[in-house]
């Protein structure tokens, strides 16, 4: 039975092959425009078949996405963490470098000023502010052990900061020029009118006892007069913003904007006792940078 079936199918197979070859050859011999009929007949079949193809493609894409997005990125998460750490570190380093660059610029200006000025000075850093609310003062990181003494003048390349009022072995307290309890001998640079610079309650300064007939006006610079011991002549104190008559009527008074913002200063120079200093005697003159 099996032999019969085998033979039958064998003959059928041969028949099919022969028919197929004939059809193929015939198909090849058919003109091209007739071949389009097959294409057109196959179009709906293609459309139907396109759905499973698309579905399979979607599944494949999904799998690829899963692979790329999760499985293959297992290491990326750790790498990301490392990179974030590195960014934080570099940000910190960048900040430090900016800070160092700013400090270098300030210190370079301080050094240049120190070399220019013909006065002996000691460089110091500001490490704190007054522990109370009553005075405007800063704390320096140098004290008696470094040669600092009360009444020494404190300056920056820009101008006057204040004067030392108290020292310990390693620190010094500087009363700022903006404190009302401070007094510095000043002179209007243009008119040479002398007066006393004091701080005000609002944190600025004023020049008192300007002669009534003075020609001083807003915009004029006020500098140290060198009349008393702590500051040499010619250091900038502030710029006049307003002039008014004092209550007594004998003098004028000028409001000043200090050239140095004592609340934000970070490095200063302390003027050591000037050679030949004495009360009422003009002190060594600050040699201003020559402008070419």
């Amino acid at each position: 039975m099996r032999m019969v079936n085998f033979r039958a199918s064998y003959n059928t197979g041969r028949l099919v092959i022969v028919l197929a070859v004939v059809l193929l050859v015939g198909f090849l011999l058919v003109p091209t425009h007739l071949q389009q009929i097959f294409q057109q007949v196959g179009s709906p079949v293609g459309w139907v078949m396109s759905w499973p193809l698309r579905a399979m493609d979607g599944v494949k894409d999904g799998l690829i996405n899963v692979w790329n997005g999760y499985v293959a990125l297992r290491g990326v998460e750790a790498e990301n963490r490392e990179l974030r750490k590195e960014i934080e570190y570099l940000k910190g380093q960048n900040n430090q470098l900016r800070e160092a660059a700013a400090a270098t610029a300030r210190l370079a200006a301080l050094l240049e000023f120190k070399q220019q000025a013909n006065i002996p000075t000691i460089a110091a850093q500001v490490i704190g502010r007054d522990t109370g609310n009553w005075y405007r003062a800063i704390i320096l990181n140098k004290g008696e052990a470094d040669g600092l003494r009360p009444d020494m003048g404190v300056i920056t390349p820009a101008g006057v900061v204040g004067r030392i009022v108290k020292t310990t072995a390693a620190t010094a307290v500087v009363l700022l020029v903006t404190d009302p309890n401070n007094a510095i001998a000043g002179v209007v640079q243009r008119t040479r009118d002398e007066g006393i610079v004091e701080g005000t309650a609002s944190g600025l300064a004023r020049l008192k006892y300007i002669p009534m007939l003075s020609d001083a006006r807003p915009g004029d610079q006020v500098v140290t007069s060198g009349l008393v011991g702590e500051f040499p002549k010619g250091l900038a104190i502030g710029t006049i913003t307003k002039i008014h008559k004092e209550d007594g009527g004998l003098f004028l008074s000028a409001e000043l904007t200090p050239v140095v913002d004592g609340e934000h200063v970070e490095e200063v120079l302390v003027i050591q006792s000037l050679p030949g200093s004495g009360e009422g005697k003009r002190q060594g003159t600050f040699k201003e940078k020559p402008t070419s």
């Binding site: 704190g128 502010r129 109370g132 609310n133 009553w134 005075y135 704390i139 009302p180 309650a201």
Partner: protein, 163 residues
């Protein structure tokens, strides 16, 4: 422990607090700690803490050391006295008391210091005394609340009140 406390408080007061001034004034941590010491430890502790705190703080200030020691010492003593006779203390009561003591200490300081003419009574009140009293009250109340909620400070008070 006291030395460590002072070693922490002085840099805090001199370096950190000036950066966080409110209304141009900052809290006086020395006064706050002195008053709390007085309240919790009694008059003697308050007085001693005030004297030490006033002296150390004055090293980093223009203020005269004797004035600072005197004002803080008296404040510590008064806080101790008040702490002994107050039956129940709460953070609110401590804050109010701290504010009153801070006002008293501020006015006394203004009277004792030879301030400049421009620093008149109104300036003293507006710029220093009242803002500082508010901040002292706030800091003192919060500190007391923190101590009370974490430690059994009523027991400490009980001990010194019995002795």
């Amino acid at each position: 422990m006291w030395s460590a406390l002072i070693a922490v408080l002085v840099p805090l007061q001199s370096v950190l607090l000036p950066s966080v001034k409110i209304g141009g004034a900052m809290a006086d941590l020395g006064l706050v700690v002195t008053c709390l010491t007085g309240v919790l430890g009694g008059e003697l502790h308050g007085l001693l803490m005030g004297l030490v705190m006033g002296w150390v703080m004055s090293l980093f200030s223009v203020i005269d050391p004797v004035v600072a020691m005197g004002i803080k010492g008296v404040a510590g003593y008064v806080a101790g006295f008040a702490g002994r006779y107050l039956v129940a203390l709460s953070p609110m009561i401590v804050a109010i008391g701290m504010g009153v003591l801070s006002c008293g200490a501020g006015l006394a300081t203004a009277l004792v210091l030879s301030l400049h003419d421009v620093q008149d009574g109104w300036w003293v009140l507006r710029v220093v005394v009242l803002p500082q009293a508010v901040l002292d009250a706030l800091v003192g109340g919060v500190l007391y609340w923190g101590l009370a909620s974490r430690y059994g400070i009523e027991r400490w008070r009980g001990e010194y009140r019995i002795s």
